[in-house]
Structure formats: C-alpha cells, structure tokens
Symmetry: C2
Subunit: 530 residues, 2 copies
C-alpha cells in the first residue's frame, strides 16, 4: 500500500460523508471478536474456544437450518436438468417439480438473465396477493419493487427523499443503524425521537412532536419518518392505536412514512401483541389519510426463512404519484436488477406450499419448529437478563433481539472515558474478552443520555442457551464486583437464595418434576468452556 504522503487518496480528500457514516452492527466490538477468533485459531489461550456472535441477525451462521422447500426449489432452478433424471426427480416432491417448471416458464433466459429492474411481474403479483390477504385490502403489483434485501430498498427510498442538506428524517431512538448510516452518507439531518422504554418501547407521540418542533426551529425540512415495527433493536410490537396516531401525524405534516416491517413473522405473543401492518391501518382510515405516502419494507433474511445470504426483499408503496414512481424505476435501473435468486425466494416466502401439497408437512414442521424455538429463546433470554442485578429487559414480543438496559458503576464509566470508549462499549468489550460473547453497544443504536444498553440476538442454538446465559451472568457479576457495585451483587444473590428456597418448597410438592433451577446457578468451574 502507498504511504500517506504519496497517495492520491487520503482521509482528507475522500467524501467526508463516508467518514461520518457509522455502522455499529459491524463496528469495533465485532472487529475485535474477529481478531480474538483468529488468535484462538493460531493457538492463543482464551477462556473460551470460540466467539458467540450475538451482534447480527444471521440465523444460519448460528446453526439454524434452511427450510428444505426453498432449497429444493432453488436447486432445480439452478440446474433444471435435475428434472430430466428420474432417479433425481424422485427426490423432489411433485409440487416442487411442478412449481419449478412454472417458475422457469416465467423467467425467459432462466436465473442467469437480468430481469426487468422493478423485478419479475409474477413475483410482484404473488407479493401483492400476500399483502392483500394480510391486510384485507387489495394491493397492486405495480406498487411493489423487488430489492436486494430491505437495506437496498431503504437506500433507494432515502436517495429519493433527500434533496438537500437541510432535509431531514425522523428516526427512532434506539434505531437500526442502517438509517443513521445512510442518512449520514446522503448528508441529511437525523432527527431523533425517543421510544418509551418503560411502556414496551412504544412510540411516544409527544417525543415525535417535540422532535418536529425542534427541527422546524432549526430550519430542517422533514421528508421522512422511519418506524421499525416489530422493533429492532427493541424486540417489541406497536399497537394499532399507536400506528394510527403516527399515520395521522404524518398525514398532517406531509411526511413520508418508511415502515421497516422485516420482522413481521417473528411474533411471539400474537394474542396480545400481534403484528399490525402500517398499510392495514392506512387503508382502514383511507378517507382521512389522503396525504400519506407509505413505503413498507420486507426481506427474506428474517422470519423463519433467515436466508440472509440471498439478499432478497421488496418495498411496497402507497399514495405515490406516478411521476415519482417512474423516478424510482429509473433509480432501480441504475443497478440493473436485484439478483434473480433473491427475487425467487421472495416469491417462495410469500407463497409457500399449501396443505394439499406433498411438500407441505415438512415445510410446516420445519417452520413451526424454528418459530417455537425462537419464542422459547426469547422468553428465556429476557427472563435471564432481568435476573441480573441492575439489568432490565422489556419482554421480547417480536423480532430477534433483546435490548436490555444496564446500570454501569461510576468507576467503570470513568475507566471507559479514560480509555476513550463509551461506557456501554467498555462493557461489551469486557463481555467479549472474558466470555467470548459478541454483542453491540447501545450507543450504536442510540439511547437516552445517561442510560446504557446492549443489543444481543436471541439466535444462539437452543442447546447453547444454558451456556450463553451462564456466561452473561458470570461476566455481569464479575464486572459489577470489579467496578465497585458489590452491594448490587449481594442483593441479587440474597434474592436468588430466597427464590431457590421457595422453589424447594414447590419441589417438595411437585416431587416428580425435575429441578428447574437454572444451570447457571450451579456451582461449577468454567472448565467446560475452555
């Protein structure tokens, strides 16, 4: 590499907006995690033998199996000759063979040709039917744009909206850092509004109104309002009432709404906290909401699909002027088309097999198993985090994350500042170095001043959960003790003892049941994690 003095490019000459952009999910902590893993590989001793990556919603990396239906179909589309061999075709259920033939008939040139830039019409048609059924209101296939994952869609829409440096976009705090990163890159103003942690991270209209007033006084022209529902990193679902308030507000202020709904099928308490789409509420009040422009995003990377590697997704628009629609088409055409297999997987996701199909039982079994396991993991992780002294976690109702609040002792805050780290980053680095768990500091998502959080996924395998929870706890207690919060630890241990005794009484009564005492409370060395 060239030395700085000779190079034609340096930090001083490149786009300062690139430098300003940050993307926390792949920031300092995950980078350190990779370093540690490389050191372990080259023989260095650590108190664990591999890093648990809880920093990113990447289910297959952590052992989640792909749904066979998707993979069997894709496999045929790549190599249609498979259908011609009897020995082979007998491996694939007949409905899959039939669907593969039907898809191939609809993509002239096969999967190796560019599609039109908006995406295959038959896929958009199936997405429109899925949305119609979900919302109870007819959806037009031309309102759908297929994209390379939801991130690419967000980038297109923000590129469309942001016209100058005085333009801004409302984003939730905490948020998914794709939004702040892309806005920085576009040179736009991030206008934060605070989610209300104490009431399940609901969206406080007061906070939005205040953000709007502040931005108006600064001359910022608000072009978009980002809502992430189900929440990332918050793991909660907005109520229909809350969504209605947001839409009426956006209508009055003529601000476009970006509804990030990529976790719409990761719902763990549907009876009490169901997923409600922004589009459903918009259509329900369509007589009043005449000025709303809505962009809603979905992806094949989440849900029980979890196929992050495909980079498939779409966004759907409501209330869009035809001229503006055409401009989006042009923007899309600059990158030619979304990758074809990503488009196909969107189709399979929104139109899965039905009960009369031979492939249905396996599909149902696999998808149900993933979703119920995620639900169990969500419950266990939030309970375990709430058990830690000075740690509080809202119920994980949805999505793939917990975003607990942690009290960090003043001495640790001071030590962090001395090192040039934020206190939550300091905590996360300590968790990584000591227990090999890689999570993302809350500061990467935004948090109320003086509060500290981290985001962890719920994705480690269920059989690793005892281990995971044990490690979280071991580290947390050591951290508090090291930085002078022993009294918190003692208080917790007393409470645990009390609970344990209560449990014992209970066990006398239900003596046929196994002890439900969490394994992390058992006295054991950490040998088994070396």
């Amino acid at each position: 590499m060239a030395t700085a003095s000779e190079a034609a490019l340096s930090l001083h000459s490149i786009n300062p907006r690139v430098i300003a952009a940050e993307y926390a999910v792949r920031g300092r902590v995950p980078k350190r995690a990779e370093e540690i893993e490389n050191r372990i590989k080259s023989g260095e001793k650590y108190p664990f033998n591999k890093v648990m990556y809880c920093n990113i919603g990447n289910p297959h990396k952590l052992g989640q199996h792909p749904i066979s239906y998707f993979r069997q179909l894709c496999s045929i589309l790549f190599y249609p000759d498979l259908l011609e061999e009897k020995a082979v075709s007998s491996l694939f259920p007949l409905d899959i063979q039939k669907r593969a033939r039907s898809i191939l008939a609809q993509i002239p040139g096969g999967i190796g040709a560019y599609s039109i830039s908006q995406g295959f019409p038959f896929v958009r048609n199936d997405v429109a039917e899925f949305i119609t059924k979900r919302d109870g209101y007819e959806c037009d296939k031309d309102s759908i744009f297929l994209t390379q994952g939801a991130s690419a869609g967000v980038s297109v829409v923000l590129n469309l909206l942001i016209a100058s440096e005085n333009d801004g976009c409302l984003i939730p705090i905490p948020q998914y850092p794709l939004y702040s990163g892309t806005l920085s890159l576009l040179g736009a103003k991030e206008v934060p509004y605070q989610l209300d942690e104490q009431s399940h991270w609901s969206l406080s209209m007061d906070s939005i109104k205040k953000a709007v007033e502040d931005s108006e006084s600064l001359g910022v022209h608000l072009k978009g309002l980002v809502v992430i529902n189900p929440g990332n990193p918050t793991g909660t679902c907005l109520s229909e009432e809350n969504i209605k308030d947001i839409l009426f507000f956006a209508n009055a202020h003529k601000i476009a709404v970006l509804a990030d709904e990529v976790y719409q099928t990761n719902i763990y308490n549907p009876a009490e906290k169901p997923f409600v789409s922004f589009r459903h509420v918009l259509k329900k009040y369509s007589n009043e909401l005449k000025s709303v422009v809505l962009f809603s995003f979905h992806s094949v990377s989440k849900g029980f699909v979890g196929e992050c590697g495909f980079r498939g997704g779409y966004f759907q628009t409501e209330g869009l002027d035809q001229d503006v629609h055409n401009q989006i088409l042009k923007l899309q055409s600059l990158s030619l088309c979304p990758n074809v297999m990503g488009q196909i997987l969107v189709d399979l996701m929104v139109k899965p097999p039905t009960p009369e199909d031979e492939s249905y039982p396996l599909y149902l079994a696999e998808s149900t198993a993933i979703l119920s396991s995620l639900k169990r993991r969500a419950l266990r992780l939030s309970a375990a985090l709430n058990d830690l002294p000075g740690c509080s976690c809202q119920p994980i109702e949805a999505a793939l994350y917990a975003f607990p609040s942690i009290k960090i002792p003043p001495k640790a805050v001071q030590a962090a500042h001395d090192k040039g780290h934020s206190p939550d980053e300091f905590y996360c680095l300590s968790l990584l170095e000591e227990e090999g768990i890689c999570v993302v500091p809350g500061s990467g998502f935004g948090q109320k001043d003086g509060s500290f959080h981290f985001r962890t996924t719920i994705l480690p395998r269920e059989e690793d959960f005892d281990d995971l929870i044990h490690r979280f706890k071991e580290h947390h207690i050591r951290f508090l003790e090291k930085w002078g919060a022993e009294q918190d630890v003692e208080k917790m241990l007393e409470e645990e003892k009390k609970e344990e005794n209560e449990q014992k009484d209970h066990l006398h009564y239900l003596s046929h049941l196994k002890s439900s005492k969490p394994s992390c409370l058992k006295k054991n060395s950490s040998d088994n994690f070396m």
Copy 2:
C-alpha cells in the same frame, strides 16, 4: 394512486439529482419495446412477431446457455443433500462434488448466511491468484472487495471519491451510462473526454488534457478518471501504450483511475488487439507511478459466463491508503454483504476446472463454443453495418457491442426535432416500430456534436443473424428513402451489384463453394417475419 395535489411527494419535492440522472440502456426505446411486445401478445398486428432485444448485454435472455460446471456446483450448494444420494451424486463429476464440499466447509452457515462485508476470504484469495497470474505481479487478497455486480462496485467507489458538488470525474464519450447516472445522483460534475472513433476509438490524450484544462478553469476538482476497456459501447481494446499514457497522466494529476474491465475475456482478435489490464501496466512502471490509485472492476455478467442474474463481481484496488481502505469496508458494511451466490460464482469464474478434472472437457467445449460464436457474430455484424450506406462501424475487437456511426438525412433530423426526439432516438424508434429491433440511441452514451450512433449488442443467436442483418438493412434503406437520401441508397445498390458480379466471377472459379451472397440481399417478402 394519490392525485398530485394531495400527495406528500411530487417531482417538486423529491431529490432533484434523481430526476437529473438518466439511464439510457433502459430508457425510452426499450420501454416502447415492452409496450409493443405487450400489444403483440394481446393480438395487435406488427410486421414481426417478437422484439429482438439488442439494447442490453443480457446473453442468457437471448438464448446463450449457461456453463454446466457453474450450475451443477451451485445446485449442490443450495441443497447439499444432493451429495448424500448415490443416484444423484453420480450425475455430478467427482471434481464438482469435491469442490462443493470444499466450498461448503469454507462458508459456515452455508449460502444462507451473511458473509463478512468484504466478501469470503477464500474467494478473494482465488481472485488474487487469478489476477497475479493474469498480470505477472503478485496481488493481495485484501485489496479485493466482492460486490453485487460491477455496477455496485462503481457506485461504492464514486460515493467514496465525490466529496462536494465541485468534484468531478472524467468520463469517456461515448461512455456506459452507469457513470453519468451515478455521477448525477451524487451531484458531481461529469467531465467528458472524447474517444477517437477514426482510430479504433482509442483514448486521445489531447482530449483528456483539454478536458482537464476546461474543468480547471471552471473550478472543478477532478477526483476520478473512468476508462472502459474493452470498450462499452465501442467494442475496442486500448493498447498498452495508450494505457501507459493514461496512468502517467493520472499519476501527475493525482486523479484516481477507475478501470472498467468487465469485458476482459470477450476478446476477438487477441493476436493484434489483446486485453492489457491497467494493473499490469501500473505494476510494470511502478517506480514511476507512485501516486496512482487504481480501482479495477470485473463481473460474472459478461465474458462467456454471462450470468447477469447472479449480480456478482469485484473491484481490486492499488495504491490505497489503509485508512481509505477501512472507509470502503464501512461503506460495504452498510449493505451487509454481496449476495453469497454471486460471490461463489466469482470464485468459479476465476478458478475454473483444470485439464485433470473430469468436468474439464465439457467446460472447455461450452466456453469455447460461446466465445467463437461471439467472434463470428462480431465479424458478421460489423461487416453488415459497414455495408449500409452512410453507416460506418469500427471493427468489433472485444466486448458485446457495435456502436456504428449513422448519417441521418437533414429531413429526418428536422422531423425528430419536431417530435421532441433526438435524431438518433428517432432512428432507433423507427427501427423498433418497423423491424422490432431494440437498440440504444448514441445520445444515451454521448457522441460528438452532429454525429449520430446507436449501440447494438452482438447477442442475438447465430441462427437469427441472417434475419437480424436483413432487418437492419431493410429498415435502413427505407429510412434513407423516406427521408430523402435516395441517392445514397442507389449508390449502395450499384456497389452491391458490382460486388455481386465480382463474386459471380469468383464463384465460377470456385464453383464447389456455396454462394456467399448474404441472405439479406435476396429478394424476399418479410412474410417470414410476421
């Protein structure tokens, strides 16, 4: 859709840079082609039964078969269970099975997991070896960034370079409109330099120097110099001497070089006009060229691979400061990672089977067949275009396109202006309406004032070439006659007659040979195209 008065978004409120961006390859003419095709489908009569899409380098769409090796491997990666079934595995050559296992071992989580943002290390390693071998100079795998096709790479690099509205980028005229489109979107200045049509579209240093002087006088800060080699739309190769001049110029002016080399394997006259990479020349003169920063782009969409639907590619950097490298990594991480199958296909492209592999003979046969057919088509098309009166086409030495210059009669120019079309667009629309051939007007790529061109691919199937050439000619002659250039047509017909007579004499001599008279000269109705 909302009416304009109610909508929160309109052409007046969106990003004006989006409106300014144009992407000709998917512009007005192809849009009209789609309309016509829909009309034909719904029973409307046209003098042809389908449109020949010559507007875009999309080989599989026009019937080019995928290389079996790539597809067999991908098919297994999607559904590794195929390897477990004896009946199935016997279908795949052993080396393919072995390579599939080896790839799976290197991608934890399989193809459904995000990779690291820069792309899989093993793929970058293989790319580095490919580049080392190609250039004769060692290449570092960390200088390679995998991308979703070359377009995505160009967008990342231009985002990095362009810091303000006063920044500009040198682009060739004619150019591939991805560059002008992306620069418009970034609000940067396009600084055109003219390629010299008469000398095989070589890069005239005088033109570059003039462009630089002009831009300096306007206060434009030049950040990048785009070179497309082999040329798109020009179909020609730059000489090593020409590349050397460019690099010395970039070195002196500290302008980063963007070398678009996606057609590096589409070379039809390698003895006289071989492909020479920018990196090879840079390394050769590395003692002198200390300030050059080079980004070179490659893709799986072109060559004989032609897998446009995968969206796979990479760029490789030279002379990059480590800090700037890290900024690119951050930019890449905003979109998480390039789609995994695109990454894998890059690997297969740069590291194909070798002679000792069972799959080699088929691979060699398929790839050679495609390349030799492309060469024959290149020769035939340029010859046929040069035969047309007032049409002149440089030899197609490389890539997938011809970019002939056409004289448009003054009356047609006037008629075009009256309709609000550019004269070349007027010509292309006429070609589309009358003969169903969809090409792109030269104005979409840029051309010298007063000159007119169009770009056509050489991709229609070889068996359709008689038909294609016939249609080009029929339209061209009618167009000239209609717009008052009958004398050109007469002159051509006379010359043809002369040639035909000469040919007859020749045929007497070589009476065992079939007549080489092009079928398009035979008198026939256009019935067979109805």
